[in-house]
């Protein structure tokens, strides 16, 4: 370790660290949102809901279809969107996912409730395979579609400047601009009068014109990039900011539901002891349904935001990777523990971006598991959970 330390630290670029930490938090927010679904279901049923990732996938498809309905098809030229459209999509995804979650629980998990947990687990895997492969037959996935970005009015990003670029660099941009503009205009004028030629296929005579345009443009671009990269700043994408904010709001609502309502108390009771809760007059079935509604709706919200605000491509395997990572996040935080899931999710996001920041992006997906194993060896119940003796 001591030998490795200087080697590991050598190539690190501390200027990007703040931005990477923000990236990590934003990444973790989605993991946390999905992890909540895993952890809640686990809390009441002691079941790893392997189909949760597929519920998430169906949420993304719902968002896709609603966006078509709203007039933002793949080929549409619609450009005017508003937050209302996003809210409609969000609501639709959450509703559909909640419904699907309840259906899965009713038909696949409830009949298994009195049998061994591993049998329920296999049923969950079966449902997951069914939705993945069956979905591929009926849902558009060839080519994998994505939601028209025009439906999202909040594109682009802003830069929080911590240390600005030097004035000399900024001046260089100003100096390069006029030359580039003149050269570009000259070449554009030439092209306008010669329709059969393009930037890459010009007659010999026009080559100096083209090269001038190119070279001045390259100079300008270089100067601009120097400004953009010389200081320390944090680029914040609006879309990710919205995701983070929405996730926080949803988590606060969830906390309120679980901690301060009667239903939430019943849920905690069921989670604590299934049979005693039933004896105390808690309607266990309705509580479990409620749990699936909440957990699946959160997944739906995450899926919609991922597909719309981050522009992820949708396929029937959309939920596979986030599902596994969120599951790891849930276990990391202590499965069954709601704050644990959030903590686990954020930690996973941070761990991943940190590893990428250190230059090991090829191992980014493995690091989640390494962190998990290390944490579990030190604290077998997860960060906030408590280890209990369970039988498979």
């Amino acid at each position: 370790m001591i030998y490795l330390a200087p080697h590991l630290l050598a190539g690190l670029d501390f200027r990007t660290l703040p931005e990477q930490l923000v990236n990590g938090l934003f990444l973790g927010a989605i993991y946390a949102l999905i992890a909540l679904g895993y952890t809640m279901v686990y809390g009441v049923l002691r079941l790893i809901n392997f189909a949760h990732g597929e519920v998430y996938m169906l949420g993304a498809y719902t968002a896709l279809f609603v966006s078509y309905y709203l007039g933002f098809g793949p080929a549409s030229n619609a450009t005017h969107s508003s937050a209302v459209n996003l809210l409609i999509m969000l609501f639709a995804s959450m509703t559909v996912c909640a419904l699907i979650g309840v259906i899965i629980e009713r038909f696949a998990y409830r009949p298994m409730r009195n049998h061994s947990r591993i049998a329920s687990l296999i049923t969950a895997i079966g449902i997951s395979l069914l939705l993945q492969y069956g979905g591929a037959l009926f849902l558009p996935n060839s080519p994998p579609p994505s939601i028209n970005e025009q439906v999202n009015p909040y594109r682009g990003s802003t830069s929080l400047v911590i240390v600005g670029a030097s004035q000399a660099d900024k001046n260089a941009v100003g100096a390069a601009e006029p030359a580039a503009a003149t050269a570009k205009k000259a070449f554009d004028d030439y092209l306008a009068s010669h329709p059969m030629e393009s930037e890459f296929q010009v007659s010999k005579a026009a080559e100096p014109l083209r090269d001038a345009a190119r070279d001045t443009q390259v100079k300008l671009d270089n100067a601009k990039r120097k400004v953009a990269t010389s200081g320390v700043s944090i680029t914040i994408r609006y879309g990710e900011l919205i995701i983070f904010g929405t996730s926080l709001v949803l988590m606060i609502i969830l906390t309120y539901l679980v901690m301060f309502t009667k239903r939430g108390r019943a849920m905690r009771a069921v989670s604590h002891d299934f049979d005693s809760a039933a004896l105390m007059g808690v309607n266990v079935n309705s509580i479990i349904t409620f749990t699936f509604v909440i957990g699946s709706a959160l997944a739906g919200a995450g899926a919609m935001m991922q597909a719309t605000l981050k522009g992820s491509t949708i396929s029937t395997f959309f939920g596979l990777l986030p599902g596994v990572k969120a599951f790891v996040a849930a276990v990391l935080g202590g499965i069954g523990n709601i704050p644990g899931a959030v903590l686990g999710g954020l930690l996973m996001g941070l761990a991943e971006t940190t590893v990428i920041w250190m230059g090991y992006s090829r191992y980014a997906d493995a690091i989640a598991f390494v962190v998990l194993i290390v944490v579990l060896l030190l604290k077998p119940g997860g960060l906030l959970g408590s280890a209990k003796v369970e039988k498979v």
């Binding site: 670029d13 200027r15 990007t16 931005e19 990477q20 990236n23 990590g24 934003f26 990444l27 793949p74 080929a75 492969y133 591929a136 996935n141 060839s142 080519p143 994998p144 579609p145 994505s146 028209n148 970005e149 594109r155 682009g156 990003s157 830069s159 393009s198 930037e199 890459f200 296929q201 190119r214 390259v218 671009d221 270089n222 601009k224 990039r225 953009a228 990269t229 680029t235 994408r237 879309g239 990710e240 991922q306 981050k310 522009g311 992820s312 491509t313 396929s315 395997f317 959309f318 596979l320 990777l321 991943e352 971006t353 990428i356 920041w357 230059g359 992006s361 090829r362 980014a364 997906d365």
Partner: protein, 435 residues
């Protein structure tokens, strides 16, 4: 710490000492038996060893092992052609497209009465995006009596399929497998696409000479051999030309969150970004790069080719370049013809979803063309006919397999993405690129 203080293994050994002795005895006995038996069983091992004496990796020797087995012969009035493609799993979009293109070629051939009195029938085997399943599918098709196999889209699966095909004497025409060493497996392996050793250098040349880029960063999909190979060949040529690869970041499909990788890339201040993966990932990547403030030229390979790329990549992908086999707007008759036929056959998806539509069509059309020239309707004659293919006018360009060891030298087109589709930027003939 590990809770091993009880020395349970010692207890165990002591407990079973005599048993161990006897077990060792039994093992020796069994080993002796096998030793005696191996004389007889050597032949059984030998038959399965068939295709192992392949040439060394990456050898320049064009001499490919020759297939010796008899292969299949057409029976009755049906000529079976096998197609292995992914109908399930994460390569499904490419597989389904490939099947659609292949079916189109077969229907067209039969309509034109290509082999008088006989009908070409396409048999499809699902590889489920997995090499071992692809091999099972190929074995099944060969058992069903196909004369030739077409496929697969991915190199790893093709390599697995090509081996049983070699042992049984069945030609295999790969659709989109670009791994350069793939055709070394045997003289039964052909492809209709160009190799990694061509596409990467094309883009490197284009980036260096046309776009005047000097500092390029790479984004590689570590899970897809296609992407890894393409990045490697791009890197090699670009550095040879004098450019600098400032950074290489990795991701794993179907991952679509690249913020952290892009932040790293941005800090290295590149003037170009080469994204060698497939469009479901590179589209969102372009969007996120733009949002990260990376105003650089982005480039990619034929994995970008899709009817969906403009939607997947949004505004960020406009004005970026990639290397393609053909161009939808091109006015070559083959392309126009193919696109209109496709539109008529598949009104729901009026243009091929991925580049495999055209390549699948070409591969099957090439096999059908060879059938016409084949001396007899059996695998061996068909292989020779395929090997003799000269100047076959495919949608993806002219294909000449004669004397090329299975790898047709093909033209590559660099296209620029515009709101209307793919605008022609520059064409590279096989001779233009010197490795």
């Amino acid at each position: 710490m590990l809770g091993l203080h009880s020395h349970w293994w010692w207890n165990r050994l002591n407990f079973t000492k005599d048993k161990f002795f006897k077990l060792a005895l039994a093992t020796v006995a069994v080993a002796g038996l096998i030793g005696c038996g191996s004389g007889g069983s050597d032949t059984s091992a030998g038959t399965t060893t068939g295709g192992t004496d392949k040439p060394a990796d990456g050898g320049n020797a064009k001499k490919r092992p020759e297939m010796t087995a008899a292969g299949n012969t057409a029976k009755g009035d049906e000529i079976l052609i096998g197609l292995v493609a992914s109908q399930n799993g994460d390569l499904r979009p490419w597989g389904v497209d490939c099947i659609a293109g292949a079916q189109l070629a077969v229907d067209e051939f039969n309509k034109a009465n290509g082999i008088p009195g006989k009908k070409v029938v396409l048999r499809i085997g699902d590889s489920a995006s997995k090499p071992e399943q692809g091999k099972s599918a190929a074995e099944k098709l060969i058992g069903d009596g196909v004369l030739a196999i077409v496929g697969e889209v991915a190199s790893g699966i093709t390599a697995q399929m090509a081996e049983p095909a070699f042992e049984k004497g069945i030609p295999d025409v790969a659709v989109g497998a670009t791994k350069t060493t793939l055709t070394d497996i045997g003289n039964n392996v052909f492809r209709v696409c160009y190799t990694d050793a061509f596409q990467g250098p094309v883009m490197a040349n284009f980036a260096y000479n046309e776009l005047k880029l000097r500092n390029v960063a790479l984004m590689t999909d570590k899970k897809q051999p296609y992407s890894v190979g393409l990045s490697e060949s791009f890197k090699a040529t670009f550095e040879k030309l004098g450019g600098k690869i400032v950074d290489e970041q990795f991701y794993e499909s179907p991952q679509t969150q690249f913020a952290a990788q892009l932040t790293n890339v941005k800090a290295k201040n590149p003037d170009g970004l080469f994204m060698s993966g497939y469009f479901p990932e590179t589209g969102p990547m372009a969007k996120q790069a733009k949002e990260a403030g990376l105003n650089v030229k982005m480039m990619g390979g034929d994995g970008w080719d899709s009817s969906e790329i403009l939607n997947t990549g949004g505004e960020a992908i406009l004005g970026q370049f990639f290397c393609n086999h053909y161009n939808n707007l091109e006015d070559r008759p083959e392309v126009k013809d193919f696109l209109s036929k496709w539109k008529a056959a598949y009104p729901k998806n009026p243009v091929p979803a991925t580049t495999m539509g055209a390549l699948g069509y070409d591969a099957v059309a090439l096999v059908c063309d060879a059938l016409k020239r084949s001396k007899s309707l059996d695998s061996k004659a068909l292989r020779d006919a395929i090997d003799d293919t000269e100047n076959f006018k495919g949608v993806s360009g002219n294909i000449t397999l004669k004397g090329n060891g299975g790898n047709p030298p093909k033209r590559a087109i660099v296209v620029k993405l515009t709101p209307q589709g793919q605008a022609f930027a520059k064409a590279y003939e096989p001779g233009d690129i010197k490795n």
